[in-house]
Amino acid sequence: MWIYEKKLQYPVRVSKCDPRVARYLVEQYGGADGELSAALRYLNQRYSIPDKVVGLLTDIGTEEFAHLEMIATMIYKLTKDATPRQMEEAGLGDHYVIHDNALFYQNASGVPWTAAYIQAKGDPLADLYEDIAAEEKARATYQWIIDMTDDVDLQDGLKFLREREIVHAMRFKEAVEMIKADRETKKVF
């Protein structure tokens, strides 16, 4: 069960009318290493992973939804007032034809989100290493999106999200260490 707090995890400010960047931000919305993939991946892996790391997956999976909400807010702000012409100039003409100014779970190239982006292998190490890789890929994606905009307010929100990826990868690395340890085993010498 979840408790919803009706505010963003970090304030989202967009100070430049630039729908072009919305098209790139969609990668973190419905892309392979985006926030939706991350949330669903972690919250699904929880059921078949040792008890001691279930809480970590719950916490991080939940936070990913908070990040998803921030990305959605950024995309919404960048596109909500765009005319069909502006959408087309931003490379979003096909998006407008299909979705008007609505958001949709797809990547920056317009490919719809698919569960094939995520995996649950049932092996704790395989799953945790996938999670670490996903965090590092998301961090890299944030870097390249930050490189694509000169809006410092938008960069500010993206830099926050990028730092969270670093912290999450750290926690998953720690989960790997916990899985490797065998402190509960009775040792007879």
């Binding site: 970090y10 590092e136 961090r139 890299a140 944030y142 870097q143 930050i146 490189d147 694509m148 905009t149 000169d150 410092v152 960069q155 830099k159 926050f160 999200l161 990028r162 730092e163 969270r164 670093i166 912290v167 990868a169 750290m170 690395k173 720690e174 260490e177």
Partner: protein, 78 residues
């Protein structure tokens, strides 16, 4: 450790018949989590206001990144 800088450089092969002006140095970022196998107890902390702004409570995990897009829109770095 990232004692000096958080990036690493490498020098890709430059061929005599490359069609575009070559980049002689390529750079990638190495986040601080790569140097901490398991976070020790009682590390120094940011103030709560700074922690919110930076996205982490821990200076040891803070790895900032600056945009390669300058305010005037021209590209810098590489």
């Amino acid at each position: 450790m990232n004692a000096v800088k958080p990036t690493r450089d490498w020098y890709p092969f430059v061929g005599p018949f490359d069609p575009c002006p070559p980049k002689y140095v390529k750079t990638y970022y190495v986040p601080p989590n790569q140097f901490i196998p398991y976070q020790p107890m009682n590390l120094p902390q940011f103030s709560l206001a700074d922690a919110l702004r930076y996205g982490t409570l821990w200076p040891a995990l803070y790895g900032p990144y600056e945009s390669k897009c300058s305010p005037r829109g021209s590209e810098t770095g590489g």
